[in-house]
């Protein structure tokens, strides 16, 4: 249970405060409601490049990191398809240093041609390190391209190709900042041993004077319903073949999402989960296996993935996944098993509330998806899910015509 208070400044900035009396640190999280789904298909990777540029300094504070570090603080950021998140933890007495820096870079950046060029090179190295120079590095990119034909989830946060990053014009980059980096598109969430009223006063002091510049983001295209099974087979220089089967499922606020999440836990949440028990230990088909949901805000993916043992045929591996789906669709789930994944969800929720950073980040996230109180309601929602609901989810989700299969074959 995370107790919080919430307010909105007159410029549209949302502020959420949680008091934690056990910590000497404070976590300051600022979330911008912009991710790779807001990008133009001809200029992808921009949201993530922008996350990097946010550390390139402003006219007022040329170096972002040094003052944070001087204050014994640490900061970082991440971008995904839906949002961009910046977070700082530091001794609570230094909270104003964090607010000063975050409000400063919300007011304006100093984006020189030179800074952009250097940062583009860094991001291209990141592209290489994480996606090109890694075994299986392009697997998720291939999958997205197959699962989505229209929705911008069809590209990964890093972008479709290093060329998009290299060629992004300075003008477009400036426009991106103006469109998305302003108070009414942001959420400030703070956890630490500071009273909510004081957090709100400080938020007003540092962020209140920033003028809002509202922008109506273009509609994100809706992914049309899939009507035919899709399949892609590639060959790569990797040690083991991997098989992925992905399905479309509901968006973050639909009941389908909770059903999908719980179903993925039944299949792969912990060592006693079905896939591990049946396919690794029982049938000995895979070296590793997983089922997960992509967890996106818009309608996302339910994914099965498994790395084959050298002795396993692709047909057997694929068939084994479909058999697992069949078992769920037939409702073959015990009360004990259902209770187990619910207990586990509850425990993980509690383990996730042990430090200030997780709490600050979670508050920002739930507010971004548009249902902040859900942060404390989810355990009850999972508790209420029945076997029949899981079976129904399996029936309407795990259909051939809703599937995309990727065979990522090891070169012999």
């Amino acid at each position: 249970m995370i107790r919080y208070q919430h307010t909105k400044l007159s410029n549209g900035l949302e502020v959420i405060a949680n008091r934690d009396t056990t910590s000497r640190l404070v976590a300051v999280n600022i979330l911008y409601k912009v991710g790779a789904r807001n990008e133009d298909p001809d200029c992808t990777g921009l949201a993530h490049l922008f996350e990097h540029l946010m550390f390139r300094g402003t006219h007022n504070v040329p170096d972002f990191d040094t003052p944070i570090q001087m204050a014994c603080g640490e900061n970082n950021a991440f971008t995904n398809n839906d949002y961009t998140d910046f977070y700082i933890t530091l001794p609570k007495d230094n909270i104003e240093t964090a607010l000063w820096l975050e409000s400063d870079r919300m007011m304006g950046l100093n984006l020189s041609e030179h800074a952009c060029e250097i940062e583009k090179r860094v991001v291209i190295e990141e592209f290489r390190q994480r996606y090109l120079n890694q075994p299986y590095g392009d697997l998720n990119m291939l999958l997205r391209k197959m699962v989505y034909t229209t929705h911008p989830y069809r590209w990964a946060t890093i972008g479709m190709s290093p060329d998009h990053i290299a060629n992004a014009p300075l003008e477009t980059i400036h426009q991106f900042y103006n469109n998305f980096y302003h108070p009414s598109n942001a959420i400030l969430s703070i956890s630490g041993d500071i009273a909510a009223e004081q957090v709100f006063d400080l938020a007003e002091k540092w962020f209140g004077p920033i003028a809002d510049s509202p922008f109506t983001a273009p509609q994100i295209p809706i992914e049309p319903q899939q009507t035919e099974a899709r399949r892609l087979e590639v060959e790569r220089n990797v040690p083991a073949t991997t098989i992925v089967i992905a399905f479309h499922m509901g968006n973050r606020l639909s009941h389908d999402f909770f059903l999908g999440d719980l179903t993925s836990d039944l299949l792969a949440g912990g060592d006693s989960a079905r896939l591990y028990e049946h396919l690794i230990k029982g049938k000995k088909l895979f070296a590793s296996v997983n089922a997960y949901i992509s967890g996106d805000v818009d309608a996302g993916m339910f994914v099965f993935t498994g790395q084959l043992l050298p002795t396993t045929s692709e047909q057997d591996a694929e068939a084994a996944f479909w058999q697992e789906m069949e078992l769920l669709a037939e409702g073959k789930i015990s009360d004990y098993e259902l209770e187990k994944v619910k207990n586990k969800f509850e425990a993980n929720t509690l383990f996730g509330e042990l430090n200030v950073m997780n709490k600050a980040m979670n508050m920002g996230y739930y507010s971004m998806i548009g249902d902040l109180p859900l942060i404390n309601r989810e355990v009850d929602i999972y508790r209420s899910i029945t076997k029949q609901e899981v079976a129904d989810f399996a029936i309407h989700t795990f259909k051939k015509e809703n599937s995309s299969t990727l065979i990522y074959r090891a070169k012999q």
């Binding site: 640190l25 570090q69 014994c72 603080g73 006693s272 000995k284 994944v341 586990k344």
Partner: protein, 420 residues
């Protein structure tokens, strides 16, 4: 808006661990934080890879503890832990193995029943071993297709010597000949009362503690204390390994130094932080921010029981590999010839203090730091002493240390990439 004033914490108070000794002599360290409704219980055994009689047996033993016991099958163990939302972590390094269990306070009792089985009565079933070996063999071959893994393994070889237990690595095929008996023997010899310390944190009520004491007291004693005699280190300096098609090169550079207990360890930690220990470090500024050669570069002091080393690691674009090596050498050279400016040193000291505070935030972090202290022979007052030692470090001292320890001829460099 103007910059707000700063407060720099000049003390870190961390509670002292209360030490209790179980009836078989094993020490139990207790960090009671009743405001957190969780319990974490860790067993640390002197059973790292240097203690193993054959390849991979130390990690296989640790990883197979929960794969079946006299009372329960591996499925039942996993089932029960999952049912209560409890979990465990297994870590192994060259010196030690660490087995930690976490549970909600309200479910400690049923969790303890499983802990007892896992720690005291593992059976290492034959069929589970086969699955484990097949899985690990494949994982390892995937790991070894990455340039950073090849560089890491070869750096260890270069710094300690190819045959030294700290430096050695083995072919995946060694998994094929591992037997149940190898593992059972390793368990019998090393998972013993005199080889173990126990650390618990969170909501440690008297009942919880009684349970922990009784589990610990049941660890068997072995009369043969295993003394490990380490051979001399033998260092080789420049290693280049061709990896066809790599779009980045992995670079590791460093040198053998000394363990955490050495008087120069803390100031060398300060020096390695200046060089590459934080986001705005000299290497990061140079390689990433000014040149765009890399996504990241890091350096740190690494501590082992019997020694320690300084290392830096990065991955850079294939075409800029030589330039990056030159820039790295330049930065090390500057440390040996110029005083670190006051302001930069102040910054690094604050970063290190902040890092300690962050690690100590929450009951699990406190337990980790306590464990590390105990293994080095310190108690938790060491944290405050460390902080003071960091504060006392001067630019003059660091210059002298750089001149003493960072000579180019002592440096070991490993580069893995496509040089064609």
């Amino acid at each position: 808006m103007i910059q707000p004033p700063l407060t720099i914490p000049n003390s870190i108070d961390i509670q002292h661990a209360e030490k209790i000794v179980a009836s078989n002599g094993t020490p139990i360290y207790v960090l009671n934080c009743p405001e957190f409704k969780v319990v974490r219980l860790s067993f640390v055994f002197h059973a790292g890879t240097i203690t193993q009689a054959r390849p991979f047996v130390a990690s296989a033993t640790a990883n197979m503890l929960a794969e079946g016991s006299t009372k329960y099958t591996t499925q039942q163990i996993a089932e029960r832990l999952d049912y209560y939302g409890s979990y465990f972590d297994i870590n192994i390094d060259r010196d030690y193995s660490y087995i930690s269990f976490c549970s909600l306070s309200k479910f400690f009792d049923p969790t303890a029943e499983i802990i007892e089985e896992v720690i005291l009565h593992p059976t290492f079933p034959e069929n589970e071993l086969a699955t484990y070996c097949a899985k690990r063999k494949q994982q390892l071959s995937i790991e070894r297709s990455k340039v950073e893994t090849i560089a890491r393994e070869n750096f260890a070889k270069a710094i300690f010597g190819e045959r030294h237990p700290y430096g050695i690595s083995y072919p995946e095929a060694e998994y094929d000949s591992m037997t149940r008996e190898d593992i059972a023997t390793h368990y019998r010899n090393h998972y013993t009362a005199e080889n173990c310390i126990v650390v618990c944190s969170g909501n440690i009520t008297p009942e919880v503690l009684e349970r922990i004491k009784s589990i610990t007291a049941s660890l068997h004693c072995s009369n043969s204390r295993c003394d490990i005699r380490l051979p001399e280190f033998s260092t080789s300096h420049n290693i280049r390994i061709q990896h066809d098609g790599a779009v980045q090169s992995s670079i590791r550079m460093g040198r053998l130094l000394f363990p955490r207990t050495h008087k120069d360890f803390i100031p060398m930690q300060v020096l390695s932080t200046v060089l590459g220990g934080y986001f705005g470090s000299r290497l990061m500024q140079n390689l990433r921010e000014h040149n765009g050669f890399t996504y990241g570069v890091f350096s740190a002091m690494v501590n082992f029981q019997h020694t320690g080393y300084l290392a830096l690691a990065t991955q850079v674009g294939t075409e800029v590999t030589e330039q990056a090596l030159i820039e790295i050498s330049k930065e090390i050279d500057i440390l040996r010839t110029e005083l670190i400016p006051e302001e930069e040193l102040e910054l690094v000291k604050n970063i290190m203090a902040g890092e300690m505070m962050r690690i100590l935030d929450g009951p699990f972090g406190i337990a980790d730091v306590t464990t590390e202290n105990i293994l080095c022979g310190f108690d938790n007052s060491h944290i405050q002493q460390n902080l003071e030692r960091i504060r006392q470090t001067t630019s003059e001292e660091l210059l002298a240390l750089a001149q003493r320890y960072l000579n180019p001829e002592d440096m070991i460099t490993v580069v893995v990439g496509d040089f064609s």
